[in-house]
Amino acid sequence: MVQEKITQSSEISKEKIKQLKETAKQVRLHIVKMIHKAQSGHPGGSLSGADIMTALYFDILTVDPRNPRWPDRDRFVLSKGHACPVWYVCLALRGFFPVEELDTLRQFESRLQGHPVSTKTPGVDATTGSLGIGFAQAIGMALEGKWLKKSYKVYALLGDGEMQEGVIWEAAASANKYKLDNLVAIIDNNNLQNDGFTDSIMPIEPLDKKFEAFGWMTKRIDGHNMEQVLSTLREAKAHRGSPFCIIAQTVKGKGVSFMENVRGWHGKPPSDEELAKAIQEIEGGLK
């Protein structure tokens, strides 16, 4: 069953890329709107992961919105749990719950908690919000998949600041031991964390060499180039023999000029004026 490589099943059409880019735009619009409505939440890291999440939910993942706990589904873990607005939007647009519910983010008795909760939100496979832990949970999910001899894959989106957590490396080592080729980690490498630039707070590079040394197949891509994102995710999906780590270079706050690469937009909601500008820029495609 182990193959070095499976031939790509389908070429990526221009139409597909166009569709995904359009969807990613919708995802970004919902992100800024819902965080504005809640007047709380994390826009920067949600926007940086928007293209990756769009590719996952609208091409890569085999999931069933009518049966969120379908045992054979692909799993997804948002290890950088604070970026859940992007996840909630993708789940809503895929039909796991009504899009209108996005307006309830972080509100009293909402299913859309401030950080993801598996027992509340349809489609949320793992409770996360404490950095590093989601990745280690993904290891357990992949182990169970192997144990059950199931063919689903486990995908985890991680932050780069999160690489500073020691448990990341415990998890990375165990994925190698158990040859978890049903596990794909995507690092949203936006180089910004709460207090500043990641490479000044606590340097974590070279991530590719580190994961390689831990026995992972690694690949660096531009996390906002939809062709690269999609083709690499498909490559990772088909990959056998080792876990796969995609290091996606991204821009925190991508798509909204005044948020891009600015420290202060980690966990701050936009004002009315800022929202209007953000919507305009996202709709215009931020030239």
Binding site: R75, S118, T127, S130, I133, A136, Q137, G140, M141, V167
Partner: protein
Amino acid sequence: MSRTMERGSATIPVKVELRKTDSPTRKSFSERMVEYGEVDKEFVVFESDIGYSTYSYLFGNKYPDRYYNMGIAELGTMAAAAGFAADGRTVIVSGYGVFLTMRAVEVVRSFICYPHLNVKILSSHGGLTAAIDGVTHQATEDIAYMSTLPEMKVLVPCDTVSTRGAFDIAMRTPGPVFTRLMRDPLWDIYSAEETFVLGGSKILRKGDSITLVSYGDIVFQALEAAEILRSKGIEAEVIDMYSVKPFDAETLLASARKTGAVLVAENHQKRNGLGYEIATFLLKNHPVPFDNLGLDDTFGESGNYFKVIDKYGISARAIVEAAEGLLRKR
């Protein structure tokens, strides 16, 4: 005849027979796990490189494909166990109390208790039963951490049969269950027919002067204390509160009503242990003279188990002293 009983009053018959055992409760738990694994093939075991100490290796040897040794990485182990349990599967995590309940406590709280996963914790070296290993290996705050967590159930068996009972309770109780076990073998008291339930307790000895409540290894000290107290004309009722959370409030209340005085002794910090829990309960429901014994805002130390528990005030001698003091107040 046991060591402690030899020091007790030999002329008065001992109601509960203490039988020396070679099997520490950590081993009994793992042995039951192996047996259970033959019938229930749906659970797996996670270990962090102390399988030859917790005896979880017995399971690993028999079922290598259901045993995950994750290396010296308790945090990652606990989180991976949560992932394995995410869709409802039962996962047993084996290790030492200090690491599982402190290094990994956040994972236990937010990612096991909160999503109500079927993770069962085999926690060895509870309290000063790891006396010889020193403070870093003595889990003397584990009950406080674990019983404070919503959804978590806490069990502390004292002997082989009750440990097997605790394992079975853990497996048939939905959600997370923490079982505290001992490093060293002490005694057996229960016969194989005894049954144990979540929220249950055992009255080991009837008395009408004072209620002695304990769990785990201190049950034996309470039994010896009761024997000494009898020689002084005090009949103590001894309760093995093996289910620490939830505890058997009904039995406790009935006993407190009868005896009018309650003394809790536990191998744990006084603060936030079962003693605090019971004190609060009695204050609300049936205030009686009360005292509790445990580590008094202090760490333990290395040394012979019996010497250490005596120094830190949870031996039979200390229980007798406290009981007499309590009765003088009444």
